[in-house]
Every structure is written in structure tokens, then in C-alpha cells.
């Protein structure tokens, strides 16, 4: 079986204005949402209390919500997750109370709704831990980007290709952030891990395409750049799609079967993989072309010996 039984020849370069526009719109929407709505940060970052309570029978979230203020919790967020028997409770950080006290009071409150209720999971994160995690997540993001930029500069000898790769590296995580901002899904540490993985993967396809561009330029120095770029993307298209379909298969399995804990993580990966595939096919090479990429940039010193290899 093959997705493309014959070598495809889609005109990616000729239609690039369309794809630029699509990317621009998605990025603007993502950034606008990120800066106006922000992210729904999980307690990893804000500090606070998160409890998951299992009830022996279906329970109304409102019942739990009304019980909590009586136990001294002013601003509880209560929602069901998974099934109607599982409730998640989030409380703002409170420096004055110890985790043990909070736990005891949450337990009292939920047992008031149903004596069979049990606290399946409780996390109390002090505000200073939350702040530190925010800082270390930001550093992790910064260092990943820095190292990847360094790698790109070292790997592609011309800044025209580097510019295309850097764009892809920024494009994909921005769309993931936009997705999390628009849907207001909880943004926790696992999502940051997923975004770093996405940054790694995103470049993966671009590198393979660029590898091919170099190879094509080497064997075909006289063809115009847009032809070479189109050929390179088309020749690697089968591999790009295939790899991403397979990776998406496992990520979808994670999303559907991995449970609530891995939901944000796998959603971030899925969005990132889709964005990454899109940017490496439609955007990163096109940018290099618009920066005037030619064979001369990829192989600055023309040697006769190289020409002898021409078919």
C-alpha cells in the first residue's frame, strides 16, 4: 500500500501565499488569545489545592460546590471529570493552612454530600513552589529554543534555511499555546513537557526536507530554486505524512485511553504534530525561497569534481 502511488508534484511554492495567510491568521489568533485570555494555569504553576473525589454514586457538582464554603473554602471550582461519580475540586492557595488541615476539611465537606465519598487524589502546592515551577518551565523553554537555534545555525550553512527552520520552531508551539488559551484547558507541567517535545519533533520534518533540498541542489544545480524545493517536498511527502499518521495513532490512543492526567499532554502533542507537519510542508521551505535561496547558498564553493557527478 502507498498513499501516493506515483511521485506527486504538488505546486507548494506557487501557492505559498495562501499557506502564509493561513499560518498568519492562526498565529495572530493564537497570540491574541494568549495575551488577552491567557492560559488556564494548573496548580503546578499557581499553587493551591486540587482534589479528586470519588463518590459511590452519581453526584451533582453543585451540591459539592455549596458544601465547600461552609468548610471555609471561599472560591472553589468544582467540576465532574471522567464520569458523574468523579469530582475535581480546585481551591486557591492559602498560605495559612497546612496541607493536612486542608485535606481534613475537604474530606469533611465531601462526606457531608455523601458519606461514601473518598479523596482519590489530593495535591497541595505552596505558592512559592508554583512560582519556581513557572520560572523553571520558562527557562526550559528558553534553553530548548536557544540550543535548537544553535543547532540550526550549525546545521544549515545558509541563514535562509535557518530562517525557515526557526520560523517552524516558533510557529508550532505558538499554535499549541493558542489552542490551550482558546479552549482554556488546564495548562500544567506535563503540557510544558509536551511542548518541548513538540519543538523537538517540529524540526524533525523540516530537517528531513532540508536534507533533501541539499541533495537535490547537489545533483541539479541549474534548476530554478522553486522547482528544486517543490521536488524535495514532494519526494519526502510520503515519509512526512506516513510518520505523522503513525505518531498520531499512538497519541490518539493516549488521548482517548490515557485518562484525565494525560489529556492535556496528549492534546498538546497532537496539535503540535499537526502544526509541525503543516509548517514543514507548507511554510519553512517557502520562507527560505522568499529569502532568495539558491544552489549557490547551499554549496558556496563550486568544485568541478562536484559537477562531474551530474547525471
Amino acid at each position: 500500500m502507498e498513499f501516493f502511488s506515483h511521485q506527486t508534484s504538488y505546486p507548494f511554492m506557487a501557492t505559498r501565499k495562501v499557506w502564509y495567510t493561513l499560518s498568519a491568521v492562526l498565529m495572530v489568533v493564537s497570540l491574541a488569545s494568549f495575551f488577552t485570555r491567557g492560559l488556564n494555569l494548573g496548580i503546578d504553576f499557581t499553587g493551591g489545592v486540587s482534589a479528586e473525589v470519588s463518590f459511590p454514586r452519581a453526584v451533582n457538582a453543585d451540591d459539592v460546590r455549596t458544601k465547600l464554603p461552609a468548610s471555609g473554602f471561599a472560591d472553589p471550582q468544582v467540576q465532574t471529570f471522567g464520569s458523574a461519580r468523579d469530582i475535581s475540586i480546585r481551591l486557591p492557595p492559602d498560605a495559612k493552612q497546612t496541607a493536612t488541615e486542608i485535606r481534613a476539611r475537604v474530606e469533611t465537606a465531601v462526606k457531608g454530600v455523601d458519606p461514601g465519598a473518598t479523596v482519590a487524589q489530593l495535591a497541595v502546592v505552596g505558592p512559592q513552589v508554583g512560582n519556581e515551577l513557572k520560572v523553571s518551565a520558562a527557562w526550559a523553554l528558553f534553553f530548548t529554543l536557544l540550543l535548537i537555534f544553535g543547532y540550526i545555525a550549525f546545521r544549515f550553512h545558509t541563514w535562509r534555511l535557518s530562517a525557515g527552520a526557526i520560523f517552524a520552531v516558533l510557529h508550532d508551539p505558538i499554535l499549541v499555546l493558542g489552542f490551550f488559551s482558546l479552549t482554556q484547558m488546564s495548562f500544567d507541567l506535563a503540557v510544558v513537557a509536551a511542548i518541548l517535545a513538540v519543538i523537538g519533533y517540529s524540526l524533525n520534518d523540516t530537517v528531513v526536507v532540508f536534507d533533501r533540498i541539499r541533495e537535490r541542489f547537489e545533483s541539479n544545480r541549474r534548476s530554478p530554486s522553486d522547482v528544486i524545493l517543490d521536488q524535495s517536498i514532494n519526494q519526502t511527502l510520503s515519509r512526512t505524512i506516513m510518520t505523522k499518521v503513525v505518531t498520531s495513532l499512538v497519541v490518539v490512543a493516549l488521548l482517548l485511553l490515557g485518562g484525565a492526567v494525560l489529556k492535556g499532554f496528549s492534546a498538546a502533542l497532537l496539535i503540535g504534530i499537526i502544526a509541525g507537519t503543516y509548517s514543514s510542508i507548507y511554510i519553512s521551505s517557502a520562507i527560505a525561497l522568499d529569502f532568495g535561496l539558491t544552489a549557490e547558498h547551499v554549496f558556496p564553493s563550486v568544485k568541478k569534481a562536484a559537477l562531474d557527478h551530474l547525471p
Partner: protein, 622 residues
């Protein structure tokens, strides 16, 4: 012809066989188990295990097998009710000998365990348990050190009859914490500096003149501050470890995290209130003289101690001792207790502050060649249910941790000798746990119920099986025979990854399982790159065997390149992440290595074996 060097075949086969062996323990599952540890920390011996087995049989409790693992007895059961029945029976019968803990024991066969092979330990999110992150108040540790200096300074100045306006600890929390001695104009500054030579030893001392007199400042150096902080954290870790051991938790973790944090992981523990009562105990030490005239055994029998003495039954030798009521020095006055060596072998070096030193000097002058004892006193809150109501009461445990003869006159710096190496370490630890504790408080607490842990494992394993099955079927359809080869290679990759993780004893968390699943997805990439290349070559009309060779050779640079970027992300996560996130990073990073190995070497070996020898190969099933 397609060829592959013989040593490469051997390497691939050897690595995979080893990997299979190391990964094997993970496939046997776990049984409910009861862990028995001796209260006196001695290892459990074979005799004891026979006693326990005989007792369980006599009580009619069914058990599968018992074995001794790092000095603890593990008894395995077929089901949880048996496990609980056994715990109740053992607790009733052996309450003074053993601390019991409910646990899980891997069903690993004997011969694998004998080789030291174990399954990956499961993280708290998969096992259920309690995670606590403690913040150590290192500023308080510095303040305690400064107070000690200030106190010594006051004494020294008083002893030298030098008038003082004020002695105080200043600048705690800044980078220049110091002791400041303010003298009135009438005071002799030089005499004061001389008097302070000894008490402020080690500090960088400076003198400046004020309008109302002068001031002598002793600043703690950065190295001293760090030493103080490290001491405070080590002391708390020691204390926490001792207490965690008493909880009877199987495989607890108490470790330093960062500069001033301690992270405690207690698998299987649910009740955080009880745990924190025990962990939050206050301990102190007392040095007292031993009564050498009266008979302690007699006092134990009659239950009456002579006037002015107190009877202690919890001692290192097991024999009761009578101690004088007067306390020579307390844990608050202990500044350090470390292991060292003396002419008589291992020893504990003890340092007291000035007050403790003075008192010790007075006592030892009059009592050379008489025995002196150290008592560790721990106060804890015990909660029990009486008539359905929870009643708390404070309990004091007193334990004599050392009895030694005073060999000479000493004050604030002395040695306890005549110990075995293990005893010296133990005594130093116990002394430290009774010295003035630096306050700690919990800043993060996560509890995962055991049923949720089970659920998380099931979900993770389900996702892994379904994801892998989907990939396998897809590859087989898409690449036919080559797809099946890729499937085998992927399976080998998972086995290799599991083996590496088991060898590293890295604990597996839910994000870790996600990392394994992701690795399967990503490892396909290398195969796809190779196969697509082979297809391209075949399309060009290259002979099948040459196409395979060209496929591997031409795909190599793309595979290596595309993995570097993921490697970068993995390593950064490893450095910055903690807990489960670090687990994910480890899996991600190792997964890149294993997938490179299996898809480049493993699949090439397999394909060469399949197609290499055939002279007439018309086409490839790809």
C-alpha cells in the same frame, strides 16, 4: 549480494538477549505482600522467617512464599484479604519485634531475583502514596549558629569583666549574617577583642568605632553559611529517615532536592495526618551521669528507682540503667556530632556550645572514670479512637543511646570511643537527630489513592497496547513484509527501553508510560525513512538488494539529524524537570538511543538475513 559484518550480528543478538533478560522481571506482575522489618533495625534472619511462617500456618493464614530482601522479610499472598489477615495476626503476636507494612512484591521467579534483576519501581502516581516536599528554614539554621556565637561572646566578655552595651545576631537572611558586639565608650576595645578571640573563632572579625563607643562585628563567611545550611538539611534528612523507617513503609524515599528542600515519598501511605504527626516529632538529647552504686535490675523488678535517679530500660545493651536526675547538657547545646576515628577505633566527635561546654567541664572534673549516658527523648502525638471519638495524647519515648566512661576532663569538644564502625555512625545520627532542629514545613503535598494508582496503570498499559497494535497493523499493511520486520524491530525497541529503565531503577510514572508510547510512534520514523528510500531506489530500477543497501545508507543522515533535535528537548527537560516530568525526559532520551540502535542495526541485520543470501530476488515485498 547484501552483506552485514558478523560481529554486528553478534552485537545485535547479544544486546537483545541481555535486554530480554533485564526486561523479563517486568512481565510477571505483583502479589500483595507484607513486609516485616525488625524494630531494632537488625536484619531479619532465616530463623526468624521460619518462625513467622510457622506462626502464619498455625493461625491458618494462607501465604504463597516468603523471602528476605535487604534485611526485611517479605511474605507474599494470593489476595488482599489474606494479606490483611496476616498483618493483623503479625501485629498482634510480634508487636515488639517487627514493624509491618503492606506492600506489593514482584512475582519475579527466584533465579531472576538471585541475579539481582528487578522490575522497574513504580512512581507514586501508579502505586498510590504520599509525596511531601519540605522546606528547610535555612535562615533559622544560620540564626541558631549566630545565637551560639553571641552567647559565647557574652560569656567571654562577662568573664573578662568587660562592660557590654549589646550583643546580637544581625543580618540573618542577608549574605552577611553577623554577630555584633556593641561596647560602651568606657570599654577597652583591645581587651574585648582578645577576649572574643576564642568565642568568635573562624568568623571574619572587624572593629569600628561608633559615636557612643565601638562595635566588634564577626561575620559568617559564605563557606560557613553553606556548611550550616548543609548541616541543617542533613540533620533533618537523618531525622526524617529514622522516623520514616518507623512508619514501616516499603521503599520510602527521603532525599534532598535543590538547596533547601527535602522530598519524602511514601508509597502506599494514605493518612497524611498520622504521617505528619510522626515526622513532625520534636526530639532532644540529655547527657546524664550513671548511678554506679544501686542495682538497676532490682529497680526494674520493684519498679522503684532510688531517690534522685531515674530508671531507663531502653538501652543499647538491653540492660536497664539508672541515671542521675541532673542534666549535664541537652540537645539544644549540641552543635555537631560526626563520625571520626580515634586510637581505639571508630568514634563520634561531639561539639557543644559554650554553655554545654562549661557544664561538661564542671562535671567531668569531679567524675573521671565514671560512666556517663546520652538519652534521646522524642515527643510525639498519638491519636487513638476511644468510644468513636478521636483522642490525642502526647507520648514521650526515652531511649539511652550511649553509655561511656569519662576518660578525662573535657568541655565542649570530646569523643565517644569504643564503638564499632556501624555503631559510631548510628550514634552520630541519633545524636544529630536530637540536636536543636532547624524548622521544616511542608510546602507541597500530593496524595494518590491506591485505586487511582491501579487505574492509572491500567489506562497507561491500555493506551500502550492499543497504540502499539494500531502501529503494528498499519505498518504491516503499508509495508507488507518489511512492515512486519519493522514491527519486530519496534517490539525489540520497547524491550530494550524497558531493560534500560529497569537497569537504571528509574521509577516509572504515568508520563513515563506516555514517553514509551511516544517512543514507539517516533521509532517508526526511522523505519519509514529507510523504507521510503528503498522504495525510491526500487522505483529508479535499482536491484532489490542494492536498493536495501542504498536505503540504509542514504537514510542515515536524515535519521541522525532528525533525532538530534528531540534529544536536545529531552536533555533540557531532564535538567529542568522534577518527578514525573524527569521520568518522561529519561524515557524520551533513552528512547532515541534505543530506536536508533534497533532500526539501524537491528532491522538491517534482520533484512540482510532475510534477503542477503538470495541470488534470485525479483522484487521486494515493500
Amino acid at each position: 549480494m547484501l552483506e552485514y559484518a558478523r560481529w554486528k550480528y553478534v552485537l545485535v543478538a547479544a544486546v537483545l538477549l541481555l535486554a530480554l533478560l533485564f526486561a523479563l522481571p517486568n512481565f510477571f506482575g505483583e502479589d500483595p505482600a507484607l513486609q516485616l522489618a525488625r524494630k531494632d533495625h537488625n536484619p531479619v534472619d532465616a530463623n526468624a522467617s521460619q518462625t513467622v511462617e510457622a506462626f502464619l500456618t498455625q493461625r491458618g493464614v494462607h501465604f504463597l512464599k516468603s523471602y528476605i530482601d535487604s534485611g526485611r522479610l517479605m511474605v507474599r499472598f494470593a489476595n488482599v484479604p489474606d494479606q490483611l489477615a496476616a498483618r493483623d495476626a503479625v501485629n498482634e503476636q510480634f508487636t515488639t519485634t517487627y514493624i509491618t507494612a503492606l506492600s506489593f512484591a514482584p512475582r519475579t521467579p527466584e533465579f531472576l531475583r538471585a541475579l539481582g534483576l528487578r522490575p522497574m519501581p513504580l512512581g507514586l502516581d501508579l502505586r498510590g502514596g504520599l509525596y511531601l516536599l519540605y522546606q528547610v528554614d535555612v535562615n533559622a539554621a544560620v540564626a541558631q549558629a549566630l545565637d551560639g556565637y553571641a552567647q559565647s561572646a557574652r560569656r567571654a566578655l562577662a568573664a573578662a569583666n568587660i562592660p557590654v552595651t549589646d550583643v546580637s545576631a544581625v543580618g540573618v537572611g542577608t549574605d552577611k549574617p553577623n554577630v555584633r558586639v556593641v561596647l560602651p565608650a568606657a570599654a577597652d576595645v583591645n581587651a574585648a577583642r582578645n577576649a572574643l578571640n576564642l568565642p568568635l573563632q573562624g568568623l571574619s572579625v572587624s572593629t569600628d568605632s561608633l559615636a557612643s563607643g565601638s562595635a566588634i562585628t564577626g561575620v559568617l563567611t559564605t563557606a560557613q553559611i553553606r556548611e550550616r545550611q548543609d548541616y541543617a538539611i542533613q540533620q533533618n534528612i537523618t531525622t526524617l529517615r529514622n522516623r520514616v523507617n518507623e512508619l514501616g513503609v516499603s521503599e520510602p524515599i527521603v532525599q534532598r532536592q535543590g538547596i533547601d528542600r527535602i522530598n519524602v515519598q511514601l508509597p502506599g501511605v494514605q493518612n497524611s495526618a498520622e504521617v505528619k504527626d510522626i515526622l513532625g516529632r520534636v526530639a532532644t538529647l540529655e547527657w546524664r551521669l550513671v548511678d554506679t552504686q544501686d542495682n538497676a535490675f532490682e529497680a526494674q523488678q520493684t519498679g522503684r528507682a532510688p531517690l534522685g535517679y531515674k530508671l531507663y530500660t531502653h538501652t543499647p545493651s538491653g540492660a536497664p540503667v539508672l541515671l542521675k536526675r541532673e542534666v549535664i547538657a541537652t540537645g539544644d547545646e549540641l552543635t555537631n556530632a560526626t563520625t571520626g576515628t580515634s586510637q581505639q577505633g571508630p568514634a563520634v566527635n561531639v561539639k557543644l556550645d559554650a554553655r554545654g561546654g562549661d557544664s561538661m567541664l564542671k562535671t567531668t572534673r569531679q567524675n573521671v572514670d565514671k560512666p556517663m549516658a546520652v538519652v534521646l527523648i522524642e515527643k510525639r502525638r498519638e491519636t487513638s479512637e476511644v468510644d468513636g471519638k478521636k483522642v490525642s495524647r502526647d507520648v514521650t519515648d526515652e531511649q539511652v543511646i550511649s553509655v561511656a566512661t569519662i576518660r578525662g576532663i573535657f568541655s565542649n569538644d570530646f569523643q565517644v570511643t569504643g564503638l564499632a564502625a556501624g555503631e559510631a555512625r548510628e550514634l552520630a545520627l541519633l545524636m544529630r537527630s536530637g540536636s536543636l532542629a532547624t524548622p521544616i514545613y511542608a510546602i507541597e503535598e500530593r496524595a494518590v489513592g491506591p485505586s487511582l494508582g491501579r487505574e492509572n496503570i491500567d489506562k497507561g498499559v491500555n493506551a500502550l497496547i492499543v497504540g502499539m497494535a494500531a502501529v503494528f497493523i498499519f505498518m504491516a499493511i503499508y509495508y507488507k513484509t518489511f512492515g512486519l520486520v519493522a514491527d519486530l524491530v519496534l517490539l525489540a525497541n520497547v524491550v530494550l527501553l524497558t531493560a534500560l529503565l529497569s537497569m537504571m531503577r528509574a521509577s516509572l510514572s504515568l508520563p513515563g508510560i506516555a514517553g514509551i508510547i511516544l517512543t514507539v510512534g517516533m521509532a517508526v520514523d526511522a523505519n519509514v525513512l529507510i523504507y521510503e528510500r528503498i522504495r525510491e531506489e526500487v522505483r529508479k530500477g535499482v536491484s532489490p538488494q542494492a536498493a536495501i543497501r542504498a536505503g540504509f545508507e542514504k537514510a542515515f543522515s536524515a535519521i541522525a539529524d532528525s533525532n538530534v533535535t528531540t534529544l536536545i528537548a529531552g536533555v533540557v527537560l531532564w535538567v529542568f524537570g522534577t518527578g514525573p516530568i524527569r521520568g518522561f525526559a529519561i524515557v524520551l532520551t533513552l528512547g532515541i538511543a534505543t530506536s536508533m540502535f534497533t532500526s539501524l542495526m537491528g532491522s538491517r541485520a534482520l533484512l540482510t538475513l532475510m534477503y542477503g543470501g538470495r541470488r534470485k530476488l525479483a522484487r521486494l515485498s515493500i
